[in-house]
C-alpha cells in the first residue's frame, strides 16, 4: 500500500478546473486523479476507479452534486468513500450556515488553491474509518 498513490476522483463540469486539479495534485507525485465533467460519468468512475476521496462540484448540468453524493452513499461498494464538495455556492470553507443543503459533507469554497484541496484530502484520509 505504501507505493500506491492516493486515488482522487474529481467530478466537475468545469473542464479547465478538473485539468488544473489533476495537474497540481499529480505534480506532487502522491495522487492519481481521474476527472469527470458530468454527474453520470462521475458515478460510473466512482464505481470503476475506486477513488480514495471524491471531490464533487455542487451544481452540474445533468444532476446536482447532492444527487451524485446520495447515489454514491447508497451504493454499498463505494458508499463509504469520503466526499468533499468543491463549490462556488459558499464564500468560505468553514461557512456551515450557507452550506446547509450539503448536509454534513465537508466543503471547500471556490476559488481554492491546490494546497487547500490537498490539505482537506489528507484530513479526510486520516479520519477515514479503517
Amino acid at each position: 500500500m505504501l507505493d500506491r498513490k492516493t486515488r482522487i476522483l474529481i467530478i466537475d463540469d468545469e473542464a479547465g478546473l478538473t485539468l488544473l486539479i489533476k495537474l497540481c495534485l499529480e505534480d506532487t507525485g502522491k495522487y492519481t486523479v481521474q476527472a469527470a465533467t458530468r454527474g453520470a460519468t462521475g458515478l460510473l468512475a466512482a464505481r470503476t476507479f475506486e477513488p480514495d476521496v471524491i471531490l464533487l462540484d455542487a451544481i452540474m448540468p445533468d444532476m446536482s452534486g447532492l444527487e451524485v453524493a446520495m447515489q454514491i452513499r447508497a451504493d454499498p461498494a463505494i458508499g463509504r468513500t469520503p466526499i468533499v464538495f468543491l463549490t462556488a455556492t459558499v464564500s468560505d470553507s468553514n461557512d456551515r450556515t450557507s452550506a446547509g443543503s450539503l448536509f454534513d459533507f465537508p466543503v471547500i469554497a471556490k476559488p481554492a488553491t491546490a494546497q487547500q484541496i490537498m490539505d482537506r484530502i489528507e484530513i479526510e484520509l486520516a479520519s477515514r474509518p479503517q
Partner: protein, 583 residues
C-alpha cells in the same frame, strides 16, 4: 253815521318814545293782529269803538291818550260797519256802548263771536245797572266799564288783552298737548319695539300696544297681569325663567338681551335698553325701557353659528382627511421605497449568486494555474514569480469583489480575529498598489503608536479600506496625496458618534483623506445609498460605500464622510475597542 279813524297824535310818538305802557302780553297780541293786516302801524293798539255819541267817544280817546297808549281807533255805529271794520280794520280790542239806537253791545258781541274772532270785548256803558253788564259778561264780554269811571279803561284793556292772551296760550298749549299725545300714540301704536314705563319696584306703569303683536298679550295683561316665569336673561336654556318685576330689577335697564315667552309658548328674543327718567326734583323713580324684538336676528345668528360650526367641522374633517391622506401617502412612499430597495437587493442577490458561481470557477482555474506555474517556472527570469504573485493578487481581489457582492445581498457574518488595524491598512494598500503607482499618488502614513489590535474580519475590513482607497484615488488627478491617519480616542472625543457609548470608552479611528475634487454638498447625504454613484456610468457599481457602511456597521463601528476644509474628502471610521456591542 260816523266812521272816523283817529290818526296818531304827536303825543303818541312821545308815548312811544317814553317806552309805552302796555305789558308784553298786549304787545304780542297787537303784533299778531298786525301781521294779519296790511296796516303798517304795528306799534299801535287797534281799537274798534261801537259808539254813537261823539262826546263819549272823545272821552274814551282822551282816557287812552292820558294813559299814553299808542292806538288807532275806528268808530262804528251800526252792524254793517262793525262787520266791515272787523275785516278791514282788524281790531285788537272792541269797546262797545251797551245801547245804540239800532245796534247794541250784545249784538256786536254776538257778531264778533259768530265770526270766531277771539278779540277782547269790553262793554262801555252809561247809566245801566250792573245786571245788564253781568248779562253781557255772561254772553262773553271780557269786562265792563261805566262811563263815569272811564279812568279804569286802560287798565281794563290791559287786563282783557292779557286774559285773551292767556286763553290763547292755553288753547295753543292744549292743542300742542293733544298733538303731542297723538304723536306719542302714533309712535307707540306704530313702533315694532315694546316701550314700557316702569317704576322703581319694577311695576309696569305703561306698555305700548306693540306688546300685542310681539308677545300676544294686551298692555292690560302686562300691566295688571302676572307674567311670572316668562323672562330669562339667559341666551339659551341656561337661566331659569323669572317674573317680569324680578327681571327688570335684575338688569333690564342695562343694554341686555333676554328672552320672553310669547303667549303661544314660543320664546322670543329681545334686546332691552333703558333709561331712568330724571324727575323735576332730580329723583329717579321711573324708567323707560325699549325692547326690540331680535328673534329673527337671533335665529339667523344661531343658524350662522351652526353653519360656522358645521363648516369648521367639515374643515377639520377635511384637514384630518388630508393628514390621513398625507401620512398614507408617506407610508406608501416609504413602503414603495422599501419594496424597490428589497427588489433591488433581491436582484443584486440573484445576480451576485449567479456571478459568484460563474466567476468562481474560472478564478479557481487561474489560482491553481498560478500555483502550478510557480512550480514549473523555467530558470533565468526573475520577474516571472512576481508576475505570478500579481496574478494571484488579482484573483484574490476579484474574489473579494464577488464576496463583497454576496455579503451585500446576504446577511453578513463576520469572521472576527484579533487583527492590527495597521496590518489591514497595509494589506489594503497592497491591493490598490497598481492604481497608486499608475496615478502617482503619494501615500502619507500618520499612524499612532498606541493603536491596539481589534477584533476584526480581516477580509471585510480590507474590502472597506480598498473601497475608500479606490474612491480617493479616483477622485484625485495625477500626483494627489492619500493620507492615512490612525488615532485612539475616547467616546466623548467622538461627540455625537460616541453618544451611545461610555464617555471613557476607547475607539480606534482610521481616517482616509484625499486631495481630490470633493463631493458636492447635495450628494453627501446620499453617498451611502445603494446604487448611488458619483462616478461615470459603468465605472462604479454604486454599491461600494453601501457595502463599506454595512461592514463597518457589522463591526459595531461607524463611518462618516465629509469634505475637508482645504479640499478633498476625509472618510473617518471609528471602531470600538470593545468590538461589536451586543444587540
Amino acid at each position: 253815521m260816523q266812521n272816523r279813524e283817529q290818526p296818531s297824535t304827536p303825543d303818541e310818538t312821545a308815548a312811544a318814545e317814553a317806552g309805552g305802557s302796555l305789558d308784553l302780553a298786549a304787545e304780542s297780541t297787537r303784533r299778531d293782529h298786525a301781521t294779519a293786516t296790511r296796516e303798517p302801524a304795528n306799534a299801535h293798539l287797534r281799537v274798534l269803538l261801537v259808539e254813537d255819541v261823539t262826546v263819549d267817544a272823545e272821552f274814551i280817546e282822551r282816557e287812552l291818550r292820558k294813559a299814553a297808549v299808542l292806538f288807532l281807533m275806528r268808530r262804528v255805529e251800526n252792524s254793517d260797519d262793525f262787520v266791515r271794520a272787523l275785516e278791514e280794520f282788524a281790531p285788537s280790542i272792541v269797546l262797545a256802548d251797551y245801547l245804540l239806537p239800532r245796534f247794541g253791545a250784545l249784538e256786536a258781541l254776538q257778531l264778533l263771536r259768530g265770526k270766531g274772532l277771539d278779540i277782547p270785548f269790553i262793554l262801555v256803558t252809561g247809566s245801566q245797572s250792573e245786571e245788564v253788564a253781568v248779562a253781557c259778561m255772561k254772553e262773553g264780554a271780557d269786562d265792563y266799564i261805566l262811563k263815569d269811571r272811564l279812568a279804569r279803561l286802560p287798565g281794563a284793556i290791559a287786563n282783557a288783552l292779557e286774559k285773551k292772551d292767556g286763553e290763547r296760550n292755553r288753547r295753543v298749549a292744549i292743542a300742542a298737548l293733544a298733538r303731542s299725545a297723538q304723536q306719542f300714540q302714533l309712535i307707540t301704536d306704530n313702533t315694532h319695539d315694546i316701550i314700557c314705563l316702569v317704576d322703581k319696584t319694577g311695576a309696569i306703569l305703561y306698555v305700548s300696544p306693540s306688546c300685542r303683536q310681539r308677545l300676544g298679550f294686551t298692555p292690560e295683561d302686562i300691566v295688571q297681569g302676572d307674567m311670572a316665569c316668562m323672562f330669562s336673561l339667559g341666551d339659551e336654556a341656561g337661566e331659569a325663567p323669572r317674573g317680569l318685576h324680578e327681571f327688570i330689577r335684575a338688569g333690564a335697564l342695562r343694554r341686555t338681551e333676554f328672552r320672553c315667552r310669547h303667549k303661544n309658548g314660543e320664546w322670543r328674543f329681545f334686546e332691552s335698553t333703558g333709561r331712568w327718567i330724571v324727575e323735576a326734583d332730580g329723583s329717579k323713580s321711573r324708567a323707560v325701557l325699549v325692547w326690540r324684538d331680535i328673534t329673527r336676528r337671533k335665529r339667523s345668528e344661531s343658524q350662522l353659528r351652526q353653519a360656522l360650526r358645521d363648516l369648521k367641522n367639515r374643515e377639520s374633517a377635511r384637514v384630518a382627511a388630508l393628514e390621513d391622506l398625507k401620512s398614507s401617502h408617506a407610508e406608501l412612499q416609504s413602503v414603495q421605497f422599501q419594496l424597490i430597495q428589497a427588489e433591488k437587493m433581491e436582484s443584486v442577490g440573484r445576480l451576485a449568486a449567479g456571478v459568484a458561481h460563474e466567476v468562481k470557477n474560472p478564478l479557481t482555474v487561474l489560482l491553481m494555474g498560478t500555483e502550478y506555474l510557480r512550480k514549473h517556472l523555467p530558470d533565468g527570469d526573475p520577474e516571472l514569480p512576481t508576475v505570478l504573485d500579481e496574478m494571484a493578487d488579482a484573483v484574490a481581489r476579484a474574489n473579494t469583489v464577488i464576496l463583497g457582492l454576496l455579503d451585500f445581498s446576504r446577511p453578513g457574518v463576520l469572521e472576527l480575529k484579533l487583527e492590527h488595524p495597521h496590518t489591514i491598512v497595509e494589506q489594503a494598500l497592497v491591493l490598490v498598489k497598481h492604481d497608486l503607482t499608475r496615478l502617482n499618488v503619494e501615500v502619507v502614513r500618520d499612524f499612532a503608536a498606541d493603536v491596539p489590535p481589534l477584533n476584526l474580519d480581516r477580509a471585510k475590513m480590507e474590502q472597506v479600506l480598498v473601497n475608500l482607497f479606490t474612491n480617493a484615488i479616483h477622485a484625485m488627478s495625477d500626483r494627489g496625496t492619500l493620507t492615512l491617519r490612525t488615532r485612539v480616542v475616547t467616546a466623548s472625543e467622538l461627540g455625537t458618534r460616541g453618544a451611545m457609548h461610555d464617555p471613557a470608552e476607547e475607539a480606534v479611528v482610521v481616517q482616509v483623506a484625499d486631495t481630490g475634487t470633493g463631493i458636492p454638498a447635495a450628494k453627501l447625504l446620499r453617498i451611502f445609498d445603494p446604487f448611488f454613484t458619483t462616478k461615470p456610468t459603468g465605472t462604479g457599481t454604486g454599491l461600494g460605500l453601501t457595502v463599506t457602511q454595512r461592514i463597518v456597521d457589522l463591526h459595531g463601528g461607524s463611518i462618516a464622510i465629509e469634505n475637508n476644509a482645504g479640499g478633498g474628502v476625509c472618510a473617518t471610521i471609528a471602531l470600538w475597542r470593545g468590538g461589536r456591542r451586543a444587540g
